[in-house]
């Protein structure tokens, strides 16, 4: 398989879909909302604009090579962790633990990806950060809600750094007959899971009636969930040719990571509700924060990584 040509065709296809969607968005704006502004249409157009930037950045990173991809996801982790820590309650005594998280564990995790050191990559945060950060926090000599605070820092690192770093870690897998093509696994994962988010949004808007869990996420409906996961699973199966999988395998894996992705968004929504906010941040217009965009990736990436590593790596 010619990897460059495949990547080129893939991104040309994605940009074509995006261009079509943008034309539809502009037409809607012109016909429906030219007089009175319509919040849904404006939000749709803001989201589309942000998609151009996000997909453009991923294309650029893949074009720049492994280091580009690692840096991009390192930045995504950094921004997500910022949003996570900002919204959760930490105290002055946590300052040292946060310095360690941002300036040591986060960069180190991505350096381990760059150096293909799987052994330490897999345990750095679950073992070493897990033990060292509470020690550092205890030196702050503040025992108020200590367990809760230690757990929050660890959770932030797991979700935003450890889980997200499994996306660029796909580059380190050695798959027979697939050398040099690992970037396509990243495209498969990101495209499948993100399309699931988009399809859930679209099906929910079109057919959504039965609310799934209004207490956690008022916009999630059963129709949106089923329509989104089924559509995105078909997308995944249709992408089998860029992966080492058969069409059936690609479809099953897509189904699994879409379900994981859905619950990723669900779990992080529960945290947002508890904190009384709608979005994690305001970085990406129309979408909210970085963490709003990558919550589903965070939950699906490690599972996808281990499936590929166990059966194909």
């Amino acid at each position: 398989m010619n990897v460059s040509a495949t990547l080129f065709n893939l991104f040309a296809g994605i940009f074509a879909v995006l261009a079509l969607a943008s034309v539809v968005g502009a037409a809607l704006k012109l016909r429906v909302a030219s007089e009175a502004p319509n919040a849904s249409i404006d939000n749709l157009n803001a989201r589309l604009k942000a998609w151009w930037v996000m997909i453009g950045l991923i294309a650029l990173a893949i074009w720049a090579g492994d280091l580009g991809v690692i840096l991009l996801f390192g930045f995504i982790s950094f921004q997500s962790l910022r949003e996570f820590v900002s919204l959760t309650h930490t105290r002055r005594g946590d300052h040292r633990a946060l310095i360690w998280s941002f300036y040591v564990f986060l960069p180190l995790q991505y350096i381990l990806v760059a150096n293909h050191w799987y052994g330490l990559f897999a345990i750095l945060i679950p073992v070493y950060a897990f033990l060292l950060l509470p020690i550092s926090a205890s030196l702050g000599a503040d025992t108020t809600r200590f367990l809760e605070r230690a757990a929050k820092v660890q959770w932030g690192l797991m979700i935003c750094v450890y889980c997200i770093s499994h996306v660029p870690a796909l580059l380190t897998l050695e798959i027979e007959g697939y050398a040099g093509a690992n970037a396509l696994l990243i495209v498969f994962l990101v495209l499948t899971v993100q399309s699931s988010d988009v399809f859930q949004y679209v099906w929910g808007k079109l057919l959504g009636k039965r609310k799934l869990a209004p207490a956690i996420s008022p916009s999630k409906t059963l129709e949106g969930l089923i329509g989104g996961v089924v559509s995105a699973t078909l997308v995944g199966a249709a992408l089998w040719w860029i992966t080492p999988f058969t069409p059936l395998q690609a479809g099953l894996i897509a189904l699994l990571i879409n379900i994981m992705g859905f619950f990723g968004g669900f779990v992080l929504s529960a945290i947002k509700r508890d904190r009384n906010v709608k979005d994690w941040g305001s970085m990406i217009e129309g979408h909210g924060g970085m963490l709003d965009r990558v919550d589903s990736i965070s939950f699906s990436a490690p599972i996808f990584f281990h499936i590929v590593r166990y059966w194909w790596g």
């Binding site: 949003e83 820590v85 900002s86 009384n276």
Partner: protein, 207 residues
């Protein structure tokens, strides 16, 4: 003057980049008019951030009120405080009959500028808000017609708490509340209570 402005905007850019500061104008809009912004105080960077989050045309006419006993202790600090921020520097250690802070602040307002003040009078290292010092009341009495705008600065105390030198890149937000004025018959204590409550009301719910 040009250099000061350049240093000022570079500093604002850096402060915003580090803190990710987001200004939320909830109770008013960023319009050019004379105001006293009063905010909670957790870190020395507080007024830099408040100053940075104002649009440039407002920033140029807004002066922070800060402690001379901190800002005049080194050449760099006094350059920043006097030339870049054009701060109104008040010696908090001097006796009351030597220095009249309210007169100094009123003089700055007479000059047409807006002010940034921290009515708690000192940095608060805990959560919540300390009781207000009476300065804000006397200032409001001496300058009728100047709007008092509460500004809640969230999270900056966590970027760089007292005694630490490495900032953590937590995201900050500044919420601007509804402008207030002192009522004709209002007592000092009532006014201090009311302004303090208005500022606290902008804080996100504590858990």
């Amino acid at each position: 003057m040009a250099l000061e402005r350049l240093v000022g905007s570079a500093l604002c850019g850096a402060a915003k980049l580090i803190t990710g500061a987001r200004a939320i104008w909830r109770g008013c809009t960023p319009e050019v008019r004379q105001r006293v912004y009063f905010a909670n105080h957790r870190s020395h960077a507080d007024f830099v951030l408040l100053w940075a989050s104002l649009p440039p045309r407002l920033r140029r006419r807004t002066r922070p009120v800060a402690g001379a006993d901190y800002w005049l202790t080194s050449t760099l600090r006094s350059y920043m405080a006097e030339r870049v921020f054009r701060g109104v520097l008040i010696d908090r250690t001097a006796a009351r009959d030597e220095v009249d802070p309210v007169a100094m602040m009123s003089a700055a307002l007479k000059g047409g500028d807006s002010l940034i003040i921290f009515p708690e009078g000192t940095r608060n290292l805990d959560d919540g808000l300390l009781p207000f010092k009476s300065g804000i009341y006397h200032l409001a009495r001496a300058n009728p017609g100047v709007e008092l705008v509460p500004v809640w600065i969230e999270n900056l105390g966590r970027v760089m708490p007292k005694g630490s030198f490495i900032p953590v890149p937590v995201l900050c937000s500044l919420t601007f509340g509804q402008p207030m004025e002192v009522q004709p018959e209002e007592s000092k204590d009532d006014f201090l209570q009311r302004t303090r409550a208005a500022l606290l009301a902008l804080a996100p719910a504590e858990d």
